[in-house]
Amino acid sequence: MSEDSKLNAAVGVRTEVRDDQELLLDLQDLCIKTPSRTLVDGVSIQVRSGRCTAIIGHSGSGKSLSARACMAVLDVDPGIVRGSLRYPAASGDKDWFEGVRGAGMAAQQKLLRATRHLRGGYVTYSPQSASSALNPSRTLGWQLKMAIERRAPPVADLGHEIREILDRVGLPARTAASLPGELSGGMAQRAALAIAIAPKPPLLIADEPETGLDPVLRRVVTELMINVAKETQVALMLISHNMETVERVADEVVRLHQPTATHDSLGRPRGGQG
């Protein structure tokens, strides 16, 4: 770890890893910098099939940024200065950060293009705000159709598949014909989850799914996410503030400490403490 490191991460394993739990994502010793500060440093995350890995930490500690690094989606200059990213189950031992470390925005854009086939299929994402995940001008059914079409063997009966996914997240079939603006906060969060699981990804990254929900709904949505992940055999990387949730559901916890910078959802520094 570099000398100017001000952030670090601690990993706690809460349940033993079984042999059949395949390594899906391996992020090692991540360090991301802007010209003026270090955003994250020394972050290592491993996600295995059938397990829930929680990322916790204060606002601005780099949780969302680390999650984006796990998807190779970054817009920070100079950006990744150290670390490696592997998707062992999809691309073997290939280090996706090779040639990107210290190479700036252009290299990150190249990485973005190179890993595009993995996002939306191998790894899907449920953002903090459900409204960001939903296209306001298209019905939920239309958006689910697009997500389902990412699956390798095409689905024969799309209508049946859409109804099944909606049922799984506890939404009535008629919501397929609804626009996102017609859904309540809880329904929108369920809809975002439905879109995230629709491609049947091995790995789902959920960025603070409880944000903006009332306490009751928060618990319901989190429970739903855990149950759906278990039922569909999706490995879950859960970013959360909520220690009670993390204590209850996480197999592994990555704790980010000592926030020194805040950044927006794209990893750009906003200044001040978050």
Binding site: R68, M71, V73, L112, R113, R116, H117, L118, R119, G120, G121, T124, Y125, P127, Q128, S129, S131, S132, A133, N135, P136, S137, R138, T139, G141, W142, L144, K145, A147, R150, D157, L158, G159, H160, I162, R163, P172, A173, R174, A176, A177, L179, I195, I205, D264, S265, L266, R268
Partner: protein, 310 residues
């Protein structure tokens, strides 16, 4: 949660499209096609005068009647369309492109571009539109007189409002967060910005703004030509041998005054004689001019309605 599941996938992934939306699209497309065709068929010069047909009514010279020189109003319609068609479409496209850039800049979260657009908006928004138009009209060399420079100036001056609206629409969409979520779903940059943001979400705003500007440029030409005709000045928007849609309006307006005066003093039958059926009656010219204005307004409205958000 006892729902009756939709029977077919198409019905659950797509809402039944409003027949009204399709109807508006057909109306708009038909009027635009007529607009383009009319401009394309425009003759270079008006036909020779025919004194026997002066102020001939539509049932005498089909379909629009004739002017005070006995010339059919059809070439007026064709030439008027040729003056406004290109410049008004160009102005619409300019506003559409600038609005799209403003909307995309909000989503892309590019600082320098936001700043540049803000400076442009502040300067262009602060300029008095009609004064700038007149200045542009007067500084264009005589041999280059056309509606194009005025339409471009009008589009640039009208763009700030349109850009603000597009940026606000992109902001409501979620801005950079929306793009981020789409990137996380594995969509390419081109697909995200051109399809998801512009086509699916900004289209209604862009189309509405473009249709409004198109209509405004047509009305600007008619207004400037009307003033020039009325004051017997040189036209600011066209060469002298080309006739504008302001011609029929100018001809017919005087008949409307006569009609009104006669109606007040001599009654309805005398008014009809003076305005509609008599040898000097020329209300048909006024109806033609107003009809052309209405057709443009209906076309713009049709596009706005067809592109509105569902």
């Amino acid at each position: 949660m006892s729902e009756t599941p939709p029977s077919a996938s198409s019905t659950i992934i797509r809402r039944a499209e409003s027949s009204w939306t399709r109807g508006w699209l057909v109306i708009g497309a038909a009027l635009f096609a007529a607009f383009v065709l009319t401009a394309w068929l425009a003759p270079e010069r008006l036909p020779d005068a025919n004194r026997e047909l002066f102020w001939a009514k539509p049932w005498e010279v089909f379909p629009f009647g004739a002017d005070g020189s006995g010339r059919s109003y059809v070439p007026y319609v064709l030439q008027g369309a040729s003056i406004v068609m290109g410049p008004s479409v160009l102005a619409g496209v300019i506003v559409m492109v600038l609005s799209a850039v403003a909307g995309l800049a909000r989503c892309a979260n590019v600082g320098w571009l936001d700043t540049a657009l803000q400076i442009f908006s502040e300067i262009a928004g602060a300029l008095p539109r009609m004064v700038v138009i007149l200045v542009v009209a007067f500084i264009v060399p005589k041999e280059w007189v056309s509606l194009y420079p005025l339409a471009i100036a009008w589009a640039l001056l009208a763009a700030p409002g349109a850009m603000d609206e597009a940026a606000a629409a992109a902001g409501r969409l979620g801005g950079a967060r929306f793009v981020e979520a789409l990137r996380a779903h594995g969509f390419s940059v081109t697909r995200i910005y051109l399809y998801h943001v512009t086509w699916l979400n900004l289209r209604s705003v862009l189309m509405r703004q473009a249709a409004e500007i198109l209509m405004q440029v047509v009305f600007l030409e008619i207004a400037l030509s009307y003033l020039a005709d009325f004051k017997q000045q040189k036209a600011l928007t066209r060469q002298e041998m080309i006739e504008s849609w302001a011609g029929p309006l100018n001809d017919g307006f005087r008949s409307a005054i006569t009609f009104g005066e006669t109606l007040g003093s001599k009654g309805i039958s005398a008014a009809i004689e003076a305005g509609i059926t008599g040898p000097d009656a020329r209300l048909h010219a006024l109806f033609l001019g107003l009809g052309l204005v209405a057709a443009v307004a209906i076309m713009a409205q049709a596009f706005r309605m067809a592109a509105r958000e569902r």
